[in-house]
């Protein structure tokens, strides 16, 4: 009895710093966003008195719906491209000798130790109308002199893939590392074609890695702000830009809260879906 009580006290003591801190600076602020979404703005850029549904009504504006739809579209396309590239890379990394594998893993991680803004900026330079990629494309006849590589949805997808690809490769590699490759050989011996064995045996075998990879791309892509801000232009604007505009351009914090509340809910949806799918398996990898 006595040791049980002591253990409880010990647990409370060790847990309290992070519980209190994250409660105060993460949980409370997140819940506050939902509350402030129902408040009016005051003319000084602060939060007014009373309650209103005005912010939610303004979300139904076609311009917001268009941006929301584009955000979903760009996040989906980015996720799919990342998976298409990450699966072969993950597969290759597991099949190659340990020495090469470590070298390749290192080479994949190193660029991402550079500042995130710098990497996005580097793409802005590359895609610039006077930049090297444009010159090559024009030379090859693949682009006209008027084609713009920058400031459109395509540029946002390209830089998003660049940013999130390592976070797709690593979980897929980790899952493939645990995959028993004899299963593939068995499938081949039983007459499966190579593509069949890959699709029906390998992909299901690494599905937990695939789920994790999807979360690591899709969720941050939904909340993407810097990438569309620097290479997106008006036709590549995402929800994140709308939130930032309400905060920094017209200082309407309640409306920014309302948009953020929608974003929070749309982030929770895929998370819940993956957790549900994984629970049917074994113990989920990410939780």
């Amino acid at each position: 009895m006595k040791t049980g009580a002591r253990k409880k006290l010990q647990e409370a003591l060790v847990s309290s710093p992070s519980l209190l801190w994250l409660g105060l600076f993460f949980l409370f602020p997140t819940l506050l966003v939902f509350v402030l979404a129902l408040r009016p703005a005051n003319p000084y850029g602060g939060i007014g008195q009373g309650w209103t549904l005005e912010n939610l009504r303004r979300l139904a504006d076609p311009s917001y719906l268009e941006v929301a739809w584009r955000t979903l579209e760009i996040s989906l396309v980015t996720t799919i491209i990342c998976l298409l590239l990450a699966v072969p890379v993950g597969y290759y990394l597991v099949r190659v000798s340990l020495k090469w594998r470590n070298l390749f893993l290192m080479l994949i991680i190193i660029p991402f130790w550079t500042n995130f803004l710098v990497r996005v900026f580097a793409w802005k330079v590359l895609l610039h109308p006077e930049g090297p990629i444009k010159h090559v494309l024009v030379f090859l006849g693949l682009a006209g002199p008027q084609t713009s590589l920058l400031y459109n949805a395509g540029a946002v997808v390209l830089v998003s893939v660049y940013t999130f690809l390592p976070f797709t490769i690593l979980p897929i590699f980790a899952a493939a590392d645990k995959f028993d490759f004899q299963l593939l050989e068995a499938a081949r011996d039983l007459g499966a074609r190579r593509s069949q064995a890959f699709r029906r045996i390998f992909l299901p075998g690494i599905r937990r890695g695939l789920f994790t990879a999807v979360l690591f791309v899709f969720i941050p892509a939904l909340g993407s702000y810097v990438i569309p801000d620097i290479v997106g232009g008006p036709s590549g604007e995402l929800i994140g830009n709308k939130i930032a505009q309400r905060v920094f351009v017209d200082r309407n914090l309640p409306l920014a809260s309302a948009i953020s509340a929608v974003l929070i809910l749309s982030v929770l949806a895929p998370l819940a879906a993956v957790l549900f799918l994984q629970r049917k398996d074994e113990r989920p990898e990410i939780l």
């Binding site: 647990e11 847990s15 801190w21 600076f25 993460f26 290759y92 995130f116 900026f121 580097a122 982030v267």
Partner: protein, 257 residues
């Protein structure tokens, strides 16, 4: 069994894709041309110009101070959290605790930034370096906790009981048994926290007041309004610092193993 060459080709293409922008950036930092549209000869002028930008160095100092402070505090909180999560894994409190520690890792940065901004605005806290520090500790705690927790998974708590059976007090057990065993995990967590803090832009941008500039915020305004060659030069310096740090930490971990 004959293997497809496709995975190899994709891997090489991906690596090319990863390094292309960085290589162009480094090369351009030595380009005399102001707009980087063609090679106009080797030049160090952009590096020289950096020396006359006191704003950049002030921002770098702010970043360093915040990163060191946030790392120190988040290592303490994060390690305690990991310890609790591991030791009392099955309790209801720890299940809630785990969710609370895990969520900041998946929530997009902009949401953490905006919600902290709202909390500070509602509480009437003045934005500045202080609020940046609070925000950085918040996301660093989770990363440290998860890193240390991963190392604790192979930790056998019987050694603690063994030490105590042999007469060691709590202080001795902590210093001589527990800390040396989990030190690599804590170090890895600290390194991660420091990197994340010094690199963070989005959350910082939302909770930074006027005049409180960190290096990423400075870089952002240079990208928006400044001159590209200066950013190239600054980025190349940052790259060199990162690579050196990584090389040194590799050397250290190798000599230990």
């Amino acid at each position: 069994m004959k293997r497809s060459r496709l995975p190899l080709l994709v891997t090489i293409a991906v690596l090319f894709f990863f390094y292309l922008p960085i290589i162009i950036l480094v090369v351009n930092s030595f380009n005399a041309s102001r707009f980087g549209t063609g090679w106009q000869g080797f030049s160090m002028r952009w590096y020289a110009r950096l020396l006359h930008e006191p704003e950049i160095w002030r921002a770098a100092r702010n970043s360093l101070v915040i990163a060191l402070g946030a790392t120190a505090l988040s290592v303490v909180f994060g390690t305690a959290a990991a310890f609790a999560l591991h030791r009392f894994a099955r309790s209801r409190l720890q299940r809630f605790h785990y969710g609370l520690v895990y969520m900041p890792l998946v929530v997009p940065e902009i949401l953490m930034g905006i919600s902290l901004l709202m909390a500070f605005a509602a509480a009437g806290v003045r934005l500045g370096l202080g609020t940046i520090f609070l925000a950085h500790v918040t996301f660093c705690v989770s990363f440290v906790a998860m890193t240390v927790l991963a190392r604790l998974q192979d930790f056998d708590f019987a050694v603690i009981e063994a030490a105590q059976d042999l007469g060691a007090g709590w202080g001795t057990t902590l210093r001589k048994v527990l800390l040396p065993l989990i030190a690599p995990g804590i170090l890895a967590g600290a390194l991660l926290a420091f990197t994340l803090s010094i690199d963070d832009f989005v959350i910082t941008f939302f909770v930074a007041g006027p005049g409180s500039t960190t290096l990423p915020i400075r870089i952002y305004s240079m990208i928006k309004y400044g001159s590209p060659p200066l950013i190239n030069a600054l980025s190349t310096i940052l790259l060199t610092v990162t690579f050196t740090a990584v090389a040194i930490s590799q050397r250290i971990s190798r000599s230990k193993g």
